[in-house]
């Protein structure tokens, strides 16, 4: 099952220093990229200038105000939270499953969210008008979130017996569940009309284009709750790297670590996928890259993954909305097209380390 064996060595002093150094560097990089992303866009509005004017009470045009306050700012924050949550959840799952290829998708969150979104896009019209009207265009995110959670909880219930969660069962049941969800999604897709098929394609590729304050306000608490669990998980995940039995011997509450890890990753990714669609790649690649740079210590890995994930997604979004401006590319295309070859290059240049 484990394709590549990444060393999860216990923590050495210099590794920790490298982790801290990386964190400082990544935080600085994030600030720079975020500042650029806010200032940069199809409309050419100088955001910092406009923000300055708004704060000092000067007049700005309605168009400038909308571009900065209603489009770029919520979009930047959405990218920040979604990128951080995808990458950090990836790191958590890789630690929990002790497999560098693990991602939150193994929890069934992505498959379930996809089913929810597909159902809302294709079958949403069948809902009673008052219910549909109450949800408005939030129907797809709501359904995606619900779908992600239902499948994650189902999987967790299947894998847990007498208070103990079997990671192996969870993985295998996840494959079965994903197959069933895939079939069900396919059945609904078959009934979709031409326009709905287009919507499904775009949803599947992910985009931050629909970012707005209300959406952000709905998703942010869940994402932040997921991210906030990280400090409590770091020591446990380091212990788990030695194996469950060893971890238990050194006094780690293994069952609690598993439960918190699964819940926090599901919380963060469920909300992320709901508001931004399916953005692949970030969850696997970012943590992996960081392990190569600054080692496997989760105390820094989780924080750094959040920082780098946010940076990568904000950067990718900046590209997605500028290369074909005034139109824009779905962000999933950008993350895979640029990240894929880059990741391949990193892997190849580190082949010796990986093969050890």
């Amino acid at each position: 099952m484990v394709a590549i064996d990444v060393p999860h060595a216990p923590i050495a002093g210099d590794r920790s220093r490298r982790g801290r150094g990386a964190a400082i560097g990544l935080a600085a990089l994030l600030l720079v990229v975020a500042a650029l992303a806010l200032d940069h866009g199809a409309a050419g509005t100088p955001a910092w200038e406009v923000l300055g004017k708004i704060m000092t009470g000067h007049e700005v045009t309605q168009a400038d105000r909308i571009v900065v306050l209603q489009i770029r700012l919520p979009r930047l924050l959405t990218g920040l939270l979604v990128g951080a949550s995808l990458a950090m959840s990836g790191a958590i799952m890789q630690g929990l499953f002790r497999n560098p290829l693990a991602d939150p998708g193994l929890l069934g969150v992505s498959a379930g969210a996809g089913l929810g979104a597909i159902a809302a896009i294709v079958l949403g019209g069948m809902l009673p008008a008052t219910m549909a009207a109450a949800m408005g265009w939030h129907m797809v995110p709501i359904a995606a979130f619900a779908g992600g959670w239902v499948s994650m909880i189902t999987l967790y219930a299947i894998a847990t017996r007498r208070g103990r969660t079997s990671i192996a069962t969870m993985l295998l049941a996840g494959i079965a569940l994903a197959a069933m969800i895939g079939a069900l999604s396919g059945l609904i897709v078959f009934h979709a009309d031409d326009d709905q098929l287009r919507d499904l394609t775009f949803w599947g590729l992910g985009s931050l284009a629909g970012s707005s304050w209300p959406k952000l306000a709905a998703a942010a608490p869940l994402i932040i709750a997921g991210l906030a669990a990280a400090p409590f998980l770091a020591r446990g995940l380091n212990g788990l790297a030695l194996g469950e039995a060893s971890a238990a011997h050194v006094g780690i509450n293994v069952q609690r670590i598993k439960a918190v890890a699964i819940l926090s990753a599901a919380c963060a990714t469920g909300a992320s996928v709901a508001i931004s669609g399916g953005i692949g790649f970030v969850g696997i690649v970012v943590p992996h890259l960081l392990r190569l740079i600054s080692g496997p210590d989760h105390r820094w890995l989780l924080v750094n993954a959040a920082l780098l994930g946010a940076t990568v997604l904000i950067g990718a979004d900046m590209i997605s909305r500028s290369v074909v401006a005034p139109a824009e590319l779905p962000i999933g295309i950008v993350t895979a097209m640029i990240g894929g070859p880059f990741f391949m290059w990193v892997l190849l240049s580190n082949r010796r380390t990986l093969d050890e």
Binding site: I66, Q70, I71, R72, G136, W137, S207, G210, S212, P326
Partner: protein, 286 residues
């Protein structure tokens, strides 16, 4: 507070929102809407279009704000429109909501595939552009074309036409009922050979045999497929199509997608062209 101000401007809006003769920077979203702007003679006011707008060819020089159902709010604002004309179904909804909030007049042009629906489309665009009188000529022409198509379409033995959206790996995606292709086949005086389902779906080989189409209708894709030869041969060598009357007579019609399925001002003419392509020009024309 911001919300309240936007809310009030929307409430106060409708009186102004109908006609915009002063709008000099118009963004047109939807192939049919863009065509209508042109037949109304208002093309000089266009500053941008969406990716489904490809006719007349001159519009392709305008900036493209993306696919009609996947617009970007900032992209749209960046072309600085003072009027947005959008075909029904433009989206995503949150982007449309944001654009409406932005205070730029946003007019939705209703869809429609029959004579009255098409006339209403043209009238709605003319109204929004503040030139209602300009609609009368194109509407009259459209109705005349459709009337002419309907007259020649009265046939004793309508041909059975199958619209193929795509052939991938030998799997045929055809149009059932309730689609633009279905409406067009009927306007041209033929019948849709596939009536067992709604929408565009993959069809089994046996169902195609049973449908026994006389003519295959497809969209023109690129220059290469316009020429007769290899692509048609390949099409008719598919096991499902080979035994059909269409393959026997080598009948495949390929038409420009926007012309055939756009349901704009050229639809009456397109229906007649399709009719002539199916039955031959000798029939039915005076």
């Amino acid at each position: 507070m911001l919300r309240l101000i936007f809310g009030l401007s929307v409430i106060a809006g409708p009186v102004l929102a109908d006609q915009h003769p002063e709008a000099g920077r118009v963004l047109s979203i939807g192939g049919a809407v863009t065509e209508i702007v042109h037949v109304l003679g208002q093309q000089d006011r266009l500053v941008a279009r969406d990716s489904t707008s490809s006719f007349p060819p001159s519009v392709e020089a305008l900036p493209d704000v993306g696919y009609i159902r996947a617009l970007s709010a900032e992209g749209v604002l960046s072309v600085e429109p003072d009027l947005i004309l959008a075909e029904e179904g433009a989206g995503p909804p949150e982007v449309v909501a944001l654009l409406r909030d932005s205070g730029i007049p946003y007019e939705t042009i209703p869809g429609g595939t029959d004579a009255d629906g098409l006339a209403a489309k043209i009238e709605a665009v003319a109204e929004a552009l503040g030139v209602p009188e300009a609609a009368s000529e194109p509407v009259a022409k459209l109705r005349a074309d459709l009337q002419a198509a309907a007259e020649v379409a009265q046939r004793q033995d309508p041909a059975r036409v199958m619209f193929i959206l795509s052939v991938q790996g030998g799997r045929i995606m055809a149009s059932g009922t309730g689609t633009e292709a279905d409406a067009m086949i009927n306007l041209a005086g033929a019948i849709n050979a596939i009536d067992a389902f709604e929408g565009y779906k993959p069809v089994t080989d046996e169902a195609i045999l049973a449908a026994a189409p006389d003519v295959i209708l497809m969209m023109l894709r690129g220059e290469a497929s316009a020429s007769h030869g290899a692509p048609d041969d390949q099409l008719f060598s598919l096991p499902a199509l080979a035994p059909t009357p269409a393959a026997r007579d080598g009948r495949v019609i390929r038409m420009d997608g926007l012309y055939l399925l756009g349901f704009g001002p050229r639809t009456g003419k397109a229906a007649r062209d399709l009719h002539d392509a199916i039955y031959g020009e000798a029939h039915g024309r005076d």
